[in-house]
């Protein structure tokens, strides 16, 4: 039989199945396999909060979307070309995100009466049989049966254990379909199951069976290929957001010479930073899984007081609990990094879904006048350099810094042109080690030109001093209830944070002309969608530009000038309008918001539609 090979430019696949079906692992393997070929990609894992939601139900559906392309990609794609549905619920939950005439690969075993009922299909309705999918290309495979079949020689494995390898069949089949090698997944399986020979061999067997199924079954006549993307030259690897953030912290620790201490309490979607850092103790990293969120931050304050790089990581609910301690760090004026991987709120909210709704909390959410710098990351790999900057600001300006990422960035993966350690600018840290020749007594709140006080750590002879959360007397740091002093100190603490604007780069436009009709201003994980929408519109001749903020407090000094070069400023956010409030407040301009609060990213398509409205009025 003649086999065709088709060249594609851009493909979006969504793997969807029960939360126990291993879809995240399948997606991640496909991602690494894709990345290794030099193809550009972006991913969007989307999973339920429950570890194992009731099997077969709609709330139990776990999905992993990957877009890969020989062109640059900035989003995981609005709609998918291929939907892998391991059961009826997975199909039902995701059909709306499939392109017209898209492919559906279904495991027909997941469409029995029970699964159909659990997916809330009406009695007697089976979408695989009633013609409702006629406009799509449906590839029906009995994955369960073939997985069991290929493992019939593995007599010491139970049925349940055999069925667990189903995802490998699908992965193998897709590897065949997209002309891939199985090597990286076999290496991965060997590392994961190396000590459990039977499990390892069975997984490899099923993976190969899936591949061979594509190869030998005559139904499938076309294989697809996507060429390498035209990325800037260099060495690349695939990286996920929280991993990149952890690496950024390790790099900052190495480059500042400050030992890293992470005080934290497990919380979705931040825990992976703890997991990653705890693997790298040979960098002198101390990870401390504290008894609660408050102990997470306060132990980090204790470590910072002792001269370590103190870090705490959390998500929205933890941020709320850490508020008082952040205020202490502001009063103590010691370096500290508070990492908030945002998720849907308020309260427990949507733990596994993404949102940008902690910005106002980061900006204002503490008692008293309590300014803190706020830095954000816009993509998974951007976490590395953004958190590196956040550490630099914390230790060079003696201030706690809030770092904002979100669930979408944290779990997303993309190719990363990783730096060499020698490319990273050193982070200079000055400890005060002795009294100056003109000093009789140590003045812990005597400031330099940046308004920064000295960092004198316990163990330093002659610099014994006391600090605390009660208002400080200017210069001496003694307790002071003096009215004028309090006003002065509030103003100094504000000015100290404002002054950081002198030590950060000016804001640049990401794309578009310096002047125009619409500036789309973003921060955080909306980066890819805004970039793609802006570039599409620019190609069509629209006067649209895009600026994306890393430094949110203080803003880059030239931001006001940029904003005033446009007739309209549009701020898309995955919240009910937070950055837009701050921009309107600080620059007195009529910025408009575009807000989606569904726990999912904004798509390029909806942004294009929104931006176009400003051209038709």
């Amino acid at each position: 039989m003649e086999r065709k090979e088709a060249l594609l430019q851009d493909v979006v696949i969504k793997f969807a199945g029960d939360s126990g079906d291993g879809m995240q692992l399948t997606g991640l393997q496909f991602t690494n396999n894709t990345a290794l070929l030099g193809i550009d990609l972006a991913t969007f894992p989307d999973f339920p909060a429950e570890i194992r939601a009731p099997q077969g139900t709609l709330p139990g559906v776990s999905g992993y979307q990957i877009r890969f392309s020989s062109d640059r990609v900035y989003t995981p794609g609005d709609l998918c070309d291929v939907l892998v549905a391991m059961n009826a619920a997975a199909l039902k939950a995701n059909l709306k995100s499939l392109k017209p005439a898209g492919k559906i690969i279904v495991n027909i075993d997941g469409f029995d009466a029970k699964n159909l009922r659990l997916a809330n299909y009406a009695d007697g309705v089976n979408p695989l049989e009633d013609g409702s999918l006629d406009s799509y290309e449906v590839i029906k495979i009995d994955v369960t049966k073939m997985t069991r079949e290929s493992l019939k020689e593995f007599t010491d494995l139970g049925m349940k254990e055999k069925d667990r390898a189903k995802n490998m069949f699908v992965l193998g089949f897709l590897y065949w379909m997209y002309n891939r090698s199985l090597d990286n997944t076999i290496t991965f399986l060997t590392e994961k199951f190396g000590k459990k020979e039977t499990i390892l061999q069975s997984n490899i067997k099923v993976l190969q069976a899936g591949f061979n199924y594509g190869d030998t079954t005559e139904t499938f006549t076309t294989r697809y290929r996507v060429e390498k993307a035209k990325l800037p030259p260099g060495s690349y690897r695939s990286i996920m957001g929280n991993q990149s953030l952890a690496y950024g912290l390790i790099a900052a620790s190495e480059k500042s010479g400050l030992p890293l201490f992470l005080g934290t309490y497990p919380i979705t979607p931040a825990s992976d930073i703890l997991h990653e850092l705890s693997k790298h103790k040979n960098f002198g990293i101390r990870t401390f899984q504290a008894e609660d969120e408050i102990a997470g931050i306060t132990s980090a304050i204790g470590a910072a007081y002792g001269g370590s790089l103190g870090v705490t990581t959390t998500s929205g609910p933890g941020m709320a609990l850490k508020g008082e301690a952040m205020g202490l760090a502001v009063m103590l004026e010691i370096p500290l990094l508070i990492v908030d991987i945002q998720r849907g709120g308020p309260s427990t909210g949507l733990p596994t879904k993404t949102e940008q709704s902690d910005l106002l909390q980061a900006y204002y959410g503490r008692n008293g006048e309590c300014p803190m710098p706020v830095i954000s990351a816009s993509t998974p790999s951007d976490c590395f350099s953004a958190v590196y900057e956040a550490v630099r600001i914390a230790v060079q300006h003696m201030t706690p810094v809030i770092f904002l990422s979100d669930g979408y960035i944290a779990n997303g993966a993309e190719p990363w042109k990783f730096p060499q350690s020698s490319d990273l600018a050193p982070i200079e840290v000055k400890f005060k080690t002795e009294l100056g020749f003109d000093e009789e007594k140590f003045m812990p709140y005597l400031r330099d030109e940046k308004l920064v006080r000295p960092w004198a750590v316990p163990g330093t002879p002659g610099l014994e001093h006391r600090i605390g959360g009660i208002e400080k007397q200017n210069i001496t740091g003694n307790v002071s209830y003096d009215p004028e002093n309090h006003q002065l100190m509030v103003k100094i603490r504000q000015e100290k944070v404002d002054k950081i604007a002198d030590y950060i780069p000016e804001q640049k436009l990401d794309s578009g002309a310096e002047k125009g009709k619409v500036l789309v201003l973003g921060w955080g994980s909306t980066y890819g969608a805004i970039k793609s929408a802006a570039m599409e519109l620019q190609e069509e001749g629209y006067a649209v530009s895009h600026a994306h903020l890393r430094y949110i407090r203080p803003f880059p000094k030239n931001l006001g000038d940029i904003l005033r070069n446009f007739d309209h400023v549009l701020i898309p956010e995955i919240n009910n309008g937070q950055l837009v409030k701050i921009i309107r407040d600080q620059y007195l301009i009529d910025a408009k918001g575009y807000n989606k609060i569904m726990g999912i990213p904004i798509t390029k398509t909806e942004l294009v539609t929104e931006i176009k409205k400003y051209f038709t009025e």
């Binding site: 690494n32 990345a35 030099g38 990286n184 390498k228 800037p232 030259p233 260099g234 060495s235 690349y236 690897r237 695939s238 690496y247 790099a251 201490f261 005080g263 790298h280 103790k281 040979n282 960098f283 002198g284 990293i285 101390r286 401390f288 504290a290 008894e291 609660d292 408050i294 102990a295 306060t298 132990s299 304050i301 204790g302 470590a303 910072a304 007081y305 002792g306 001269g307 370590s308 103190g310 008082e324 205020g327 202490l328 990783f418 350690s421 750590v457 316990p458 163990g459 330093t460 002879p461 002659g462 610099l463 014994e464 006391r466 600090i467 605390g468 959360g469 009660i470 003694n478 307790v479």
Partner: protein, 344 residues
Amino acid sequence: MSEVNSVLPTLTAKDFSTDQEVRWCPGCGDYSILAQVQKVMPTIGVPKENIVIISGIGCSSRFPYYMNTYGMHSIHGRATAIASGLKATRPELSVWIVTGDGDSLSIGGNHTIHLLRRNFDVNVLLFNNQIYGLTKGQYSPTSEENKITKSTPLGSIDHPFNPLALAMGADASFIARSMDRDPKHLQQMLTRSHQHKGASFLEIYQNCNIFNDGAFEIFTEKGSKLNETLFLEQGKPLIFGANQNKGIKLDGLKPVVVELGENASTDDLWIHDERDFYKAQILIRMFDDPRIEGHFPRPFGVFYEADRACYEDALNMQIEEAVAKKGSGNLDKLLRGSEVWEIA
């Protein structure tokens, strides 16, 4: 020890006081505790710059301002957690936590038990005055039942903590009690707390003469002290009483008060052993209300001491082991990972 002393300048209590005016109410028990701590510090063989005092919030938590060492007056209940982070990263420092009954047993109760179970080598000085002083007189988690306070005009319905039992429940490795009115004993207990390797939990009965005056009078005043207190000494029988005529013996697992020379002799008495895990729990439970007929005397001294690995040592050992196994971290290797592709 002698070697350390020969290189350390000889300091006195005065060297540990600061130029800050001490602002506790006149007559407060905190003054005595401050004086004893200042007296003990020059004797423990630790350079002044290596001593750190961390407090939370409450009257007692003003303590660091009056000690010429490193110090932090932090936020309510969190001194223990801050000290954990400091000790984890700077194990060579002598870290002292100054806290009160509200600070460490109410708002900071969680951190207290976790610090004890992890066994950081720090010293917890719990100033127990059984009242909220700084907020002007509400009952505390150690106040007795039925206490009339500003927030309990009809009497408190809260059952109080037995702080030492809580510490024992959290597997503290050193548990002791002393009082503000017995300077010598307090100095001894402070020294013992310092000497213990691991988390030392020292409860200090402290009189709040404004909001809870006389709470411990029965234990501290001459007239009643000898009959109402039992001072524990290692290897010695449990003897108390105005004429050293009473003792405690064990009837199975039950302590019994006996009269020496009448129904018992010294040979029958319970011999104190700080290392006895089970007896320590019985001793700690001798905690009845002294207003009740037939109550036990209240024990003071070291109830329990055990050798147990300290968190910071284990933490640092893991780092050493990781370095020995994988070599010192190589940033370039880490960033590169295992799956790399080149784009020309």
